[in-house]
């Protein structure tokens, strides 16, 4: 089922393309949480995810002129940019990966108390551990579909695959996830 682009989105995109920063701000407010979830599911550090979210939208702003809504939904366009930004980030920071110490936790989970920070980090680390055990395309399809709430069509566009392929992929990814939940990492 292809989801039509919301009318309001189209107007916001068109205004943004004409340089209306406030319209782009509205788009940001609408979609930043989804982009953030996508990025944070792939990163260990919340602050990195925050910086990268802003970076993604800056990139989108710069390339908005070349975006045409026919064919590619805005969300798919947005997540393609997010994916590229993530790849660039990996390249940049692969050598700077540091291990987590308890002292870092509050810095990484800014604005939280120590207990909340620790719990949030444990949950996040568990999710990250599991995702890294999955194949890259499984991970991407799961994150896009269930964390960033993209439709199968938007996911297909964002991943550069057909909707049919995404349907098969999500089936396999869910099966892999299930078997990992039952048997533990390293089995998939």
């Amino acid at each position: 089922m292809a989801q039509p682009q919301p009318v309001e989105d189209i107007q916001l995109i068109q205004s943004s393309q004409k340089g209306d920063t406030q319209a782009f701000g509205k788009l940001y407010e609408r979609y930043a949480p989804r982009v953030f979830r996508y990025l944070y599911a792939h990163l260990d550090n919340r602050l990195d995810a925050e910086d990268l979210t802003e970076d993604v939208f800056l990139r989108v702003w710069k390339s908005l002129g070349s975006y045409q809504e026919q064919g590619v939904p805005f969300l798919a366009f947005l997540f393609r940019v997010a994916r590229n930004a993530l790849i660039d980030h990996y390249r940049r920071s692969s050598k700077n990966q540091a291990d987590t110490s308890i002292e870092d936790m509050q810095l990484r989970e800014p604005g939280t108390g120590p207990v909340e920070a620790v719990t949030a980090l444990l949950e996040h680390q568990q999710l990250r551990t599991m995702l890294t055990e999955l194949r890259e395309d499984y991970r991407t399809v799961l994150v896009l579909r269930f964390l960033s709430e993209l439709s199968p069509e938007e996911t297909a566009h964002a991943m550069g695959r057909s909707a049919g392929a995404v349907r098969v992929l999500q089936h396999r990814a869910l099966a892999a996830l299930r078997s990992m939940m039952e048997s533990g990492p390293g089995e998939v």
């Binding site: 701000g25 949480p33 925050e50 979210t53 002292e103 939280t112 269930f146 049919g164």
Partner: protein
């Protein structure tokens, strides 16, 4: 219809609010195969909360983003900035020098020395290389906001180094780390002041960022000081003091832009100034920034109650020292950091502060922000295991009804002991992911 299609339809239906049982009943022939997949999908969808942005992030970053894109598109990347102004005298020379340094950094950065220096500690031969690279990074960072964050990041690195030095018993080298820590804190404050002056709209978010980072660092340093031997105490306490002073200064900087307005409006008597000063000193303001996202508003309304008791319980802060001998490495970490969580409450007080201060007498402001943070600290630190301390805390507050609701807080203090066991979510124990089935069942 293939199974993939059925699954896709079911997943759409789940999005639409239908339950797993309902869908299994609709496709009984696929029920067995569908059930585990749909359960996994439901569980995984529930993980969205784990990777959700912190409250307030989107709004704050939206403002930043809009400001960035509204600014003239002049300097986008380092290279374009470097070459943008080529051709004009000293600036050209400076830019050429920057290019040379960057090239040098590329060479050095890719070498083993630079890599090895990343693990160097104060007193090591390679430590100056590490600091040098940090300076280069700072120098090449043209965006003041990014530079500020770098200073915070480096200050955090210094604390990690102090911790390692402590573990190695190299107390004599602590001084180097402390001095450098103080430098980064002061630089971060300098940049904060500059940014707040230039972009008043960013004042709150930037101040919050600096304050929460420094608060966390101060707490960590306090914990380190509490477990460190005497000969290491002085340096750690100096660093902690720098962090605490930094928090206060950052709060003052963050509040600064609001001050000019009332003086102009009132007609410029000495009085309004007097009313402003009282608001700044209390430590409560510090707390107000530290906590906002952590605890929701309900807690905020409760905090004022402890205010009266605050002064009494405040003194127990020394309870840190008793712990020194008793507790091992991990415990204090958590007990100490419990501080900020108490601080959370004031968030609301912070926003409300400015208005009363200007119009009313200073007395008002004094009552609003007082240091509830401190009241909470003692409870965790002093008596970790027993719940009884809470009981002793409540009687003083007995005049005010909400105090019973406050009692849950002690659960926070217990957390340290709980930390190794991830969290008490119900669900099947087997398997390596105890949290997994939380949302399925």
């Amino acid at each position: 219809m293939s199974f993939d299609d059925v699954l896709a339809v079911c997943l759409d239906a789940l999005d639409g609010g239908q339950g797993v049982a309902e869908l299994l009943a609709r496709y009984p022939e696929h029920a067995q195969e569908l059930e585990p997949l749909l359960e996994s999908a439901v569980w995984f969808g529930g993980q969205a909360a784990v990777v959700a942005p912190r409250p307030g992030f989107v709004k704050a970053s939206r403002a930043r983003l809009v400001e960035k894109i509204a600014a003239p598109p002049a300097a986008t990347g380092i290279w374009s900035q470097l070459f943008a102004g080529l051709g004009s005298g000293w600036r050209m020379a400076l830019q050429a020098a920057v290019v040379l340094v960057m090239l040098a950094c590329l060479v050095v950065g890719s070498s083993g020395i630079a890599y090895a220096s990343q693990n160097a500690l104060p007193g090591d031969a390679l430590y100056p290389v590490k600091l040098g690279l940090e300076h280069v990074e700072l120098w090449l960072t043209l965006d003041p906001q990014a530079e500020l964050r770098l200073h915070l990041q480096f200050s955090q690195l210094r604390i990690t180094e102090m911790q390692k030095l402590l573990a190695l018993g190299r107390y004599d080298d602590l001084g180097i780390a402390t001095a450098n820590y103080q430098y980064h804190v002061s630089q971060a404050l300098r940049l904060l002041e500059m940014l707040v002056a230039q972009y008043p709209a960013l004042a709150q978010s930037l101040t919050l960022e600096v304050v929460s980072a420094l608060n966390a660092q101060a707490d960590t340093l306090a914990v380190l000081a509490s477990i460190a031997p005497e000969e290491a105490q002085a340096e750690l306490e100096a660093a902690e003091q720098a962090a605490r002073d930094g928090v206060q200064q950052a709060n003052e900087i963050g509040q600064a832009p609001a001050t000019p307005l009332p003086t102009d409006v009132t007609g410029g008597e000495a009085e309004p100034e007097a009313s402003l000063t009282p608001t700044l000193p209390p430590t409560a303001t510090v707390a107000s920034f530290a906590m906002p996202s952590a605890t929701p508003t309900p807690t905020l309304t409760l905090t004022p109650t402890p205010t009266q008791t605050a002064t009494q319980t405040r003194t127990p802060t020394p309870s840190r020292t008793p712990q020194q001998s008793a507790t091992a490495t991990l415990r204090p970490n958590i007990t100490q950091t419990a501080r900020p969580s108490g601080t959370a409450a004031p968030t609301s007080t912070r926003t409300s502060q400015p208005t009363p201060t200007r119009t009313d007498q200073p007395t008002h402001t004094a009552t609003v922000p007082p240091t509830p943070t401190r009241t909470i600290q003692p409870t965790p630190t002093a008596t970790l295991p027993p719940v009884t301390p809470t009981a002793t805390n409540i009687p003083p507050t007995s005049t005010i009804p909400p105090s019973p609701t406050r009692t849950p807080k002690p659960t926070l203090t217990r957390a340290p002991t709980d930390i190794p066991e991830p969290s008490p979510y119900p669900g099947p124990g087997p398997g390596p992911y105890p949290l997994l089935f939380r949302s399925i069942h």
